[in-house]
Amino acid sequence: MPDSPAMTHGTQELANSADPGNAANSAHPEHPPYLLHHFESAGQQADAAGFAMWLFLLTEVMFFSGLFTAYLIYRNWYYRAFVAGSHQLSVVWGTTNTAVLILSSFTMAMAVWCSKTGRRRELTLCLTLTFLLGLGFLGIKGIEYHEKFEKHHVPGRHYSLQSFLYPDSDAAARAAGDRPLPLDDARHTEVYFSLYFLMTGMHAAHMVIGLCILGFMILRARAGAYTAGHATFVENFGLYWHFIDIVWIYLFALLYLISRH
């Protein structure tokens, strides 16, 4: 979880700008309790927080773009290795996970709506559902990782070429109708799995951070923090969550579905 410090705190700030506890203690009607001292109006504050979140997502795009560049180059160089590597992934798990993440995105969008319309109980429900779906996603990811670990498909010293040199010995490769790869091609599957673990790992790290914040949000939502007319934090977290969803949509297409025909 390399970018966790910035991530958590980064979103924390946006959280705190919505945090009534830290706000200026002004009783003036034009000064809602959540308005920080240096802003002129709540609108300005929400605008600034929203824009900051978008800029943060911009940096996230650039963060992933390095990996996508690497992916694109090596996929073109080592296409056969990438195909064989992707055949080791389970489309069923992948599709399930995509659906799970899309559903969680939906519940998150609903949560934002609940927050904006002041429905506290529904908000808590939506956030909890999002949390559970996110956990489910990570669980499935864990199962997939475990499988790779068992088959020695984790790049590094224990990496095994068995499934690619002798596809008949491997159920997944047999099912996909793989033919044995020559040694040099088979070696390049390690590049595929490096990228697979990097990209899904970075994505999972973002999920974990998101789940931590979600847990915190559920507690605060139960206390009614986000249904009192100030939905900025839920909204901004929603942006983050949807961004994770979008990254996965691409990862799914690029890593799982390289060539199934």
Binding site: W77, L181, P182, L183, D184, R187
Partner: protein
């Protein structure tokens, strides 16, 4: 003087004698590159002088004592356009000029003699096609285009000869090339200019430029017995390459005679021109480069042959001009030593085929 201070004495006498401000121009490209450099230098000096003159004269004319109240001037589109377009024009000129030289330096002429350079931490290994090996030294003749084919065994290095104004990164896993034509006999510096680890600064050597006469003598005197191509032939035989690349009608691999320089159709329908880089890739990553009509059955030789071995093989295949020679290797797994013509003028591409053919 010596008794005053040995350090100062040494500094003054020894260092100042070989003190220079400009490197020697010892290759054909050097004056061309210097011309461009001086052009940019001139433009820069004019620009710098203009700026300095403007700043200085305004500072004198409009200082507070002389000019107590500033006159507000908003700006001028005409002036902005002037100092956008003039630099733009100059920069484009430099760009085109520079690009021409760049392409010249990195596009070897077809008749260049080839010398292989292998970089490793922290030495240069030079291989002439006549089989002459050198460490941290490079002998080249004047008046001949010399192409260097460079590869690294470990990390990035950079092969730099300041007197020739050429430099090329030496990369692991890939051939890079650079060429020059030396003009002035002498000894010049050879540097590794890409930081490559602890003894980076000792990865240096000498480039010895000789007259063609001297060079021929040197070649004759320092050959190691077998030419690169002959070493390659031996490797070719011992690796049993000819088991498949035997040019028979039922061969499992394509015939390699005259393959160098030809245009191949690959299994994926792409075309490729066979050069040293391709040959190297085809040995180490064969399944990436399967020739059309053949199955991807060739094993990879990565980790089995050293870079020098690959160079020898490449050199052998390069100079292979008949199927006969390959079939010979099926019978002779080893060559009788001393049977080859020593001191064959290395790099003369057409002539070397004769060498291989005996």
């Amino acid at each position: 003087m010596n008794h005053i201070s040995p350090v100062i004495y040494q500094f003054l006498v020894k260092r100042l004698t070989d003190f220079r401000l400009f490197p020697p121009e010892a290759s054909k490209i050097a004056p061309q590159m210097d011309a461009l450099f001086f052009f940019i230098l001139l433009v820069s000096l004019v620009g710098l002088t203009a700026v300095v003159l403007l700043v200085a004269s305004f500072s004198i004319l409009y200082n507070r004592q002389r000019h107590p109240v500033a006159v507000q001037v908003e700006g001028s589109t005409l002036l902005e356009a002037t100092w956008t377009i003039i630099p733009l024009g100059l920069f484009l000129m430099m760009f085109v000029w520079g690009a021409l030289i760049y392409f010249r330096v990195y596009t070897p002429p077809p008749n260049a003699m080839n010398i292989y350079v292998v970089g490793k931490q922290w030495m240069w290994k030079v291989e002439h096609s006549g089989g002459q090996h050198e460490i941290n030294a490079l002998h080249v003749p004047t008046g001949r285009a010399v192409q260097l084919t460079l590869i690294s065994e470990d990390v990035f290095h950079s092969f730099s000869i300041p007197a020739f104004r050429v430099k090329r990164e030496v990369i692991p896993g890939r051939y890079t090339t650079v060429w020059f034509e030396a003009t002035t006999p002498g000894t010049y510096h050879l540097f590794c200019s890409q930081y490559c680890g602890t003894n980076h600064s000792q990865m240096t050597g000498d480039v010895l430029v000789m007259t063609p006469e001297d060079y021929r003598k040197w070649l004759a005197g320092s050959t190691s017995g077998a030419s690169l191509a002959q070493n390659g032939e031996r490797l070719f035989a011992s690796l049993s390459c000819a088991a498949c690349h035997n040019a028979r009608p039922d061969a499992r691999g394509p015939s390699l005679a005259n393959v160098y320089g030809s245009r191949l159709t690959l299994a994926n329908g792409q075309f490729i021109t066979v050069d040293e880089a391709y040959l190297r890739q085809a040995i180490l990553n064969p399944s990436q480069h399967v020739t059309q009509g053949y199955a991807p059955i060739m094993p990879t030789y990565q980790g089995q042959i050293s870079e020098e071995g690959v160079i020898a093989l490449v050199e052998f295949i390069k100079h292979l001009d008949s199927d006969y020679r390959i079939q010979q290797t099926l019978n002779t797994t080893d060559l009788p030593p001393g049977s080859e013509e020593k001191a064959a003028p290395a790099g003369q591409a057409p002539a070397t085929q004769g060498r291989v053919k005996k």
